[in-house]
Assembly symmetry: C2
Homo-oligomer: 367 residues x 2
């Protein structure tokens, strides 16, 4: 039986959700809202949506399912708007916000559970790209899609949403909204605070020591990559997950104090354990990459700085799922080799290492 | 004129230095010291060294150049040993330590400048691999090789060392030893403290919230990668660069406090600026760096999804400053795979467009 899906926000997330829904449910009608015209146009051209509007309230009453894929602040505003509209009976409403408790608590407060069904969602995938042109049906492949039912969530909402989104190929996981916010504060929100703070710290240091910029290498680059995230989104996240993040900041400062004491007291045993434990835990946690744009399988090859070598390597790797080739000019500490090759699958990564090692005497590293 | 080079430490660094020296100076005799037998054997088998010993003092008197490529603590000990030996007149001695001031100050203190010439070195390259089997003649290709002359360093030491190491293909850079330690505290040492602290923090959080491990993704992975560094090395680094690192810790805690205040006071403008500035500074610092991670000048080519086409394009673009090649898969049947090529200069971007258009009938887009 066909359905009408209404997606508010036709950026990377909303657009990719639309493509995913269409994959398994080509018969569904998908309506879209986007404030900006460019993404509205692209969404129509790319067949993500059948119709698009810049007036959020216009299509809401037509929907069987409403997905709020707009920024957190707008999601909160749209909940108010939905509360004032006459919607289809038992319409299913969900969101895509990076924090959950604030949104879920508001939904429970303003929406009428006798008329609508709400469940919080957080699709945990993305890339640094934005806009409908970046939308990708595979964006969420194998990613965690967190669902945070509240006391008012009905079972049918959970199962129906999973069915609607089946084409996204995600791993649905139920979590308590508060626990979601705690966990993401640790693995995502607070790390963003760290990365930006480190970047600002280095920026100021550069004023005193000009070589700062030049000696910043792979490790520093890795640690500050997420400092280039979008400021508006992260401001909203910090604003809607305050307690958890403040607590992580406090805990972290205590840890820094402990390390400082180890240094001051020249406690080499404690310092060694500090580094050793960090290393062990990371290996144990086997930090996984999900299917996102910047999460694939890399291989590094130390080649002489000659073009023919790059071509030679590419010839060897025909038939693999090679997706990216980067020539790292700078050879720095923490970067393994000049040529960085990215594959879609781990199998190809491993196979390619063997191929190159067999055919050349170059050293090949897998991260 | 041939020389005898003595390399203490035949691991990744010492071994790679040996290979680099041999590349430009095949006539030099290279003697090696290593405590462990395996790397000694491998170094001999791979032709890195002509002779190898596990008795450091044994070969030192035979050397024209002595390179201490052992851990920091051992380097400091070996300086004492060298001070008590009769060495060749004007022997050139250098090290490879990650911190400089402690080593340089000790060298100045214990070595006799009338008899030996010393200069501190820090080859800024490496990988997570270790041992002589990982040594690679290209390890330092294009890397910064910091030289930290002290008041006692003679000019001939600088020029001679650069000549001996010419086969490493590095970028020699002179720096004040103290400034070296300050800069590396910011871009390398303190970030390692951050990464390990974050990893330990998440490890503890995992005890309370089991989903911590599962929701840790790309950003968290990037930020904790260097937490897997070797604990012994990092303990020594913290022990020999205390003041600078303690000061970075203190400064960072103040920054965390400031962010906490912004959150508590719901100062969204300040939070937005915090994230925005971090992003801006990172982009700024990347642009001036050669071969930075972010894209410079992109070109897009619509090619049929065939591998030969990619190779063909790469052959056409030989001689350009091509730095990255990405194969963007499209999800619609009628669109060719989009090849995204990144150049360092706009001139190359434009020139390459012309080259491809002339040689093929593919569509080429500049963003």
């Amino acid at each position: 039986m066909t359905k009408t899906i209404y997606i508010a926000g036709l950026g990377l997330i909303g657009g990719s959700i639309a493509l995913g829904i269409k994959r398994d449910h080509p018969d569904y009608k998908i309506l879209g809202y986007n404030r900006g015209e460019v993404s509205r146009q692209i969404a129509l051209e790319r067949g993500m949506v059948d119709e698009a509007t810049d007036d959020f309230a216009a299509f809401a009453p037509l929907a069987d399912v409403i997905i709020l894929a707009v920024p957190i602040e707008q999601t909160l505003d749209f909940l108010d708007i939905l509360a004032g509209l006459v919607l289809k009976p038992n319409v299913l409403i969900t969101d895509a916000g990076s924090t959950k408790l604030t949104i879920v608590e508001k939904a429970d407060r303003v929406l009428d559970p006798k008329k609508v069904r709400f469940i919080g969602s957080h699709p945990m995938a993305g890339s640094h790209k934005s806009g409908a042109q970046a939308a990708d049906v595979n964006l969420f492949e194998n990613a965690y899609y967190i669902l945070t039912p509240s006391a008012l969530t009905v079972e049918s909402a959970i199962s129906e949403l999973q069915d609607v989104l089946s084409g996204l190929h995600v791993r649905f996981t139920l979590m308590d909204a508060g626990e979601h916010d705690q966990v993401t504060s640790q693995v995502s929100h607070f790390p963003h605070v760290l990365a930006s703070s480190l970047m600002l710290q280095a920026g100021d240091y550069r004023e005193r020591y000009s070589m700062t910029q030049h000696l910043a290498a792979g490790g520093f680059r890795d640690m500050t990559r997420i400092a280039e995230s979008e400021p508006g989104m992260w401001t909203s996240i910090l604003a809607t997950n305050q307690d958890a993040i403040l607590e992580r900041i406090e805990d972290f400062k205590n840890r820094l104090d402990a390390v400082a004491q180890m240094i001051v007291h020249r406690d080499q045993v404690a310092l060694w354990n500090f580094f050793h434990q960090g290393s062990q835990i990371r290996k144990e946690m086997e930090i996984h990459r999900r299917g996102g744009v910047d999460s694939f399988y890399d291989l590094y090859v130390n080649i002489p700085d000659e073009e023919d070598e790059v071509l030679k390597i590419m010839e060897l790797l025909r038939g693999t799922s090679l997706m990216n080739l980067r020539i790292n000019e700078e050879n720095r500490e923490d970067i393994h080799g000049i040529l960085q090759i990215t594959f879609k699958t781990q199998a190809d990564q491993i196979r390619s290492k063997e191929i190159i090692e067999k055919a050349t005497d170059y050293q090949v590293f897998i991260d």
